[in-house]
Each structure stands twice: as structure tokens, then as C-alpha cells.
Symmetry: none
Subunit: 219 residues, 4 copies
DNA sequence: GATGAATGAGGTTTCATTCAT
DNA sequence: GATGAATGAAACCTCATTCAT
């Protein structure tokens, strides 16, 4: 489903090499940003020649996109299990929040790439990437909420798609708050505490309250 | 309070010129991104020489920051009135949502700059900017929620700062959904409808439900 | 005799202003070098507008040359008295050395300009400046040595002009050693001591020996 | 011992190319001066792209310093043989003078760079370069004079380091007189004759007299 | 498959000088 | 006499991409 942006030669490379290249590139893109990241530097740090790099990826953009897709898969797998379970919505929500926190800390660089993509201007590219990244997750959200609607576990006057959207807005901001300098500072400004020093339980419990009420209350 | 990033010469320029420069620059930054924006092009489009541009701003970065600050002031003013009123929290929330929608459409380019800043890597700069942008708004939120806490208008077990944070997360995503290509696509993926074609009332009413419940429900 | 490189308007300015401009400019040229010195900065530091600066001097070069000429006059006056006295050559030499040391410390910036001129590439300009600077001094040297030749105070087989040249070579190096970073370091490398910390008497006495022998010994 | 200012890639280039680049650059620096020299022009004249130039040298400054070091090595080699011989001091002196004249004519551009360095303002850089250039030569001088002191070939009351300094002052001025416009003019003003047309023997014999006396005479 | 030398367009920034007021 | 806003050419340096080996 996701369009591949690497050449066949990359597929033929050893897993070790593939991972090394992707990790090295992700690190560079995450720390410098797309424009300032340097493909020649990435190649050197990954221990391959620039020529070989271009045997693997046609352009800088393709390398970047491949990194993004790779990160997206990791996130998707982490959520897959949670969302496909038979748990009630609020149980899922709690798992979702905890997983979001843990995953964001562990895969900080991929989240940073995600934020980077977010300000990309190439409309065609953006459309493609957004679909690759968001479709899968949004479907899981909407599916779970719709199921809860049918079982009467949530208020009946909610629009599942918009509520899924609002929910993800908060989780998205949380992810960025754990990983991107600007959002980290924003988090501290709002809460008065540095994310890294904040008690994770406080976030979980408060956010759970916020969501639980939002989804279940009905006048 | 916000540190100025323009030179005295810029202050001495006519209001007309100041606005033209800021608007031209904002347009360029918003459409190309910081790195790809071209100062020479901005100067030409603003009808001044590049030399004069550098009499007004020491660096490309300073010009960018000044644009961001300018956009932030506009947003801040728009919210000032709402947040400082005596309205109850939910009335404020409704006004807030509507204003966010309207303002985002009208000042799309400034919101785009905001998103751009968000992926900046210079930690010092980011810290400064984040404070300039977020402090004022966050204080308004927290103040309003805290007031509502005292008057008993909202549930007593909420943490005003975290709830303010969650609230702004959604409004932030909404702003970006109106203005940035990636978020536009994301919005459509979630809701099935293009933001520009969506009935604004649907957003307002659903988001209001979401917020109202989140803030007022208590087991 | 020295061609003036300032405009009439400069002459009409008050002495205070003239001195301030020349000193400010000399300082800038001495510390940054001709190319990197900034006329706009000089004007600002001298408390006049750049427009007025150009009413006083047609070009940056003219301002520079005027500074050089000014410094040269100061040096020339310091030597005038010594060289025109009736003292014997070696007495003159001693006074010359001492004066060179003192003057160099006091007028460091002018000496630095002198060194700067020395690497100028405009052949016409160089010719003019060299004549303005060197003619007067060289004549004094040659005259003094020639006199000493006639009175039999020095060896009869010396060429007064070449010996004057050799003598000035050393004094020139001494001047630069007191004022220019490179020559300061060179001095320390040769002598093992920083010029500023060296006992001036050591220099005087050794150089006097050097010169005395050179001029008076004959097989 | 001298710190290298070129990148590894430069070392890997062919000797022919290395020489061509250094000579082309030296020519440009010598004729225009450091500031006005144009790297793009140097690259073009050396027949390589500007990009490759920057693969060889990180900055304009590094290219310049490398040229200076290269010139210094040539000079150092020329003096090595003379100074390390068993000749008596005055024999060495004669060879030194002749070699200085010949070398200066043949390597005029390198001497010009030397003069250029002399007015550099970066104190750190100047210190480094001065040591790279002067240490080797000064040691040779001081060693030779000290030896002569022990064998009783020179006056016993001289300070070998200061006398070495005075000696080099004159040779330095001679080098510049052969190569730099300003010093050429100065030479002519002092001697009445253009350096290029002057009988080299006159210089050698007079300077030898000057030095011989200075070093051997004792009251 | 793998290398890395080579390219060159393009962008930020500086500053001497002009000129209308 | 005095101002300072305005100009714009020019230079250093970066880096994605190619291609011969």
C-alpha cells in the first residue's frame, strides 16, 4: 500500500546495512531538519559511499520518505495490537496514552521526522505521505469509536470521525511534546513542568479524565 | 516583552512599507518554508533593495522571527477580548472555537509560519520564540479555567494547566488543519470532508460537546 | 609637497573634528586593515554622517591616505630635531633608536597603517605614498652619513645610501616589532622575550653596538 | 610540525595538480592581496571547479595559509644547506645574502604572501603562522652566531639573539625590496637605483661590510 | 556491487557610494 | 553645511547529484 521510494538494490542489501542506513539518516534528518541534512554526511556516517547511497535511493527526498515510512510502520505496529483488541474504548484509550508516551520516548527521532513532514510544501508529496501515515491509524480510531457507539458505551450524539480527530489531536501534541524542542517548551509553559521530569501518571490520569468525560457524558 | 529582532531603521520606515515587507516575507516563508525562502526575492517583491532589507533586519532569521511575532500579536489580540470577558467558560470556549476558525482562514500564512517554527532546531531560539508565542495564550487559558474552578462551573478534580494544554492541543490542530497542506489532508482523512468545504457549525458543535463534557462531567 | 587627498570642506572643519575623524579612522584602519575597515562605521564612531564623510573625502582610499600622511608628519617631526642637530652620527643614532621606541609605542596605530600601506598593490598609489613617506627620512639619513664621511667619523669605504638603507631596515623592523602582531611574535621568537616586557636599554645598547661597529670599523 | 590546513583530499590529488593549484593561488594572492583575491577565479585558473576547491581547502584562509607554508618550505630548504655547513660566520653571511637575492627574485610571489601575512589581524592565526615561518630560520641564525661566539670568531659582547634579529631585519627588507612595490620604491628612494637594475655585487659587498664590522669589531 | 572525485548553480551577506532633502 | 536612506554588485561557501572506474 505504501509506495516504495527505495530502489531494488536497497532491498538486496543486508538487513544490518538497511537498518544502519535508515537509522543514520533518521538521526541526521531529525537533528538538522530535511533541508539542512546532508546526504553525503549520512552516507559517510552509515559507512557507505555516496555513490552507493544513490544506488539505493534516487534522491534525498526518497531517502527521507523511506525513513518516515519506516518510522510509521513502527508506530503502526505498536498501535495495532491495542486497537484491534476487544477492550472497551476507555481501556483502549488508557493503553493508547501509555503507549504513546513510551513509544515517543523510545522513537523520538521518528516523531521528529513526522513533525518535519508536517511543514512540507510539495502538495502531491504531502498528500501521499499523509495518507500513508494517517489512514491506518484513523481507521483504527474510527472503527473503535463506532463499535463503542453501537454497544452504547459512549454518548450517542457524537460524530465518531470528528471525535477521533480531536482525540488524535491531543495524542499528536503529546508525541511532539516528548520529542520536539518547540513542543517541549510549550508543554512546560502550559504545565509548569518539564516533560521529562513530569510524572507520567499525572498525564495519563488527567488525559483519561478528559477523554472519558468527553466521550461518555450526555445531558 | 517580546525581544525585537528588527533594527531601528525598520521602525523609522513608513507603516505602509513595514506592513508590505512583513506581508511579503510572511507569504514567501509560508509558501516555501524558512530554508527555501529567498531574501532577495522578498526584497524584490516588497519593492526595496536587498541592501535596505539588511538595514532593516540583520539576518534572514531576524526577518523570519519578526514575521512570526507579528502574526502572534494578531492572534493574541483576537483572543484577548474573548478571554478577558466575564463570560462563563463554555461561552468563552464557543467564541474561542469560532474565532480560531475565522482567524485561521484569514491569517493562514501566519499559522503556517507557526508550524514552521515548530520544527526549528536551534534550542535557544526555540525557547525564546515558544515563550513569546505560548506564554500569553496559556496564561489566558489557565486563568479562565481556574476562575471556573472557583465558581464551581467545572469539575473540581481537573488540573487546570493540563486541561488547558489538552484544549489548546485541539485548537492548535484545528488551526493547522485550516492552513497547512499536511494537516488539511489529515483532517480529510479523519472526517472524510475537506476542511474548506466542511460546515463550520459541525466542527463547532462537536468540539463544544467534546469540551463541555470533558470539563463539566464528574462521576 | 605631499598631495592632499581631502576636500576643501575638510579644511574648513574645526580642528577638533578633523582630529577626531583622523583618529577614529586610523583606529579602524589599524585594527581591521584597509579592506575590512568600514567607512560607515568610521563616520558613526566619529559622530558625523556618512554623507558628510563624503563631503570631506572623495573615497575610502583618500581617507586612508590622509590618515597615513598625518601619521607620517608626526613621525617626521619627531625625527626632524634629531637629524638636523650638530651631533655626531653615533649620538644621533642613539637618539634615533630611543625615539623610534618611544614614538612607536605612542603612535602604534600610525605604524600599523604604515605596514598596511606596504602591501598595497596599486603601483601608482604606492609610488606616491612611498615618496611622501620615505623621501624626507631617507634624505636626513643620507645627509647625516655623508657629513660623517666628510669629517672622517665613519669608515671611508661605505656607500652612504646603502648604509642608510640598512640602518633604516633595522629601525623599521623595530617599529613594527612594537606595533604589529606578526612582528611582535617574530621579535619574541628571535629574542625569547616579549617586546613589551623587554628592557629597552638592552635593545638600545645592542643595536648601538651593532651600528657603531658597522659604521666605524675598517680593516 | 607545521599544522596542515588542507584536507585529505588535497593530499590525494596528483602532484601536478597540487602544484598548479598552489601556484595559481599564490599568484592571485600575491597580485591582489588576501581580501581581494577571488577563490572562484583561482579555481577557474587552476582548471578545477569551485566545489572541488572546497573539497581541498575548507576556507579561503586555509588555502592562503597553505600557500604561505609552501613558500616558507622553499625558503627554508634554500637556507638549510647554507646554515648547516661548517663555514665560518662571514662565509655563511655572504652565501646568505646572495641566496636571499636570488631566491627573492625567483620566488617573488611567495615573498609577497609573506608581506601580506605580516599585516594580518587575527592574533591566534598570526601567532601560529609566525612560529611556523620564523622559528626555523631564527634557530639557524642563533645557532650559527652562538657557534661563532664560542670559537671567538665574533666579538664577545654581542647578544646572539638580538644580533640575529638585526641581521634578519636587513635580509627581510632586502627580500621585500626585490618583490613588493612599496619596498621597491623605498629601495630606489634610498639608493637612487631601481633594485632590478642595481648591480647585485654592490649590495652584497656593502652589506657584507656592514655585517662583518658589526659582528667582529670590538673596542 | 562499490567508490569518491568532480560539478556548478544558487543564496546570504557586506559595504562603498549616491542623492534627495 | 549636514543627513541617512537607498542601492546593488560581488564573493564565499554548500551540497545534491553524476559518472568513470
Amino acid at each position: 500500500m505504501t509506495e516504495k521510494r527505495y530502489k531494488d538494490a536497497f532491498e538486496r542489501a543486508s538487513d544490518e546495512r538497511k537498518n544502519l542506513i535508515l537509522e543514520t539518516a533518521t538521526k541526521e534528518f531529525a537533528s538538522k531538519g530535511y533541508e539542512k541534512a546532508n546526504i553525503n554526511v549520512i552516507a559517510k556516517n552509515a559507512g557507505i559511499s555516496i555513490g552507493l547511497m544513490y544506488k539505493y535511493f534516487s534522491t534525498k527526498e526518497d531517502l527521507f520518505i523511506t525513513c518516515v515510512q519506516h518510522g510509521m510502520n513502527i508506530l503502526d505496529n505498536a498501535l495495532e495490537e491495542i486497537m484491534m483488541s476487544d477492550d472497551k474504548l476507555l481501556i483502549k484509550a488508557e493503553k493508547l496514552i501509555r503507549t504513546t508516551c513510551i513509544h515517543s520516548k523510545k522513537n523520538a527521532n521518528y516523531i521528529r521526522l513526522y513533525n518535519e513532514i508536517t511543514s512540507e510544501r510539495n502538495p502531491m508529496l504531502v498528500k501521499t505521505i499523509a495518507n500513508e501515515i494517517e489512514s491506518s491509524i484513523s481507521k483504527k480510531y474510527v472503527y473503535s469509536i463506532s463499535s463503542a457507539l453501537k454497544t452504547g458505551d459512549v454518548r450517542q450524539d457524537l460524530d465518531p470521525r470528528l471525535f477521533a480527530f480531536f482525540l488524535d489531536d491531543i495524542l499528536l501534541a503529546l508525541r511532539f511534546s516528548y520529542t520536539c524542542d518547540y513542543y517541549k517548551e510549550r508543554f512546560e509553559i502550559y504545565t509548569g513542568v518539564n516533560v521529562e521530569e513530569m510524572d507520567e501518571e499525572a498525564i495519563v490520569s488527567q488525559l483519561l479524565k478528559f477523554i472519558e468525560s468527553a466521550f461518555t457524558f450526555e445531558k
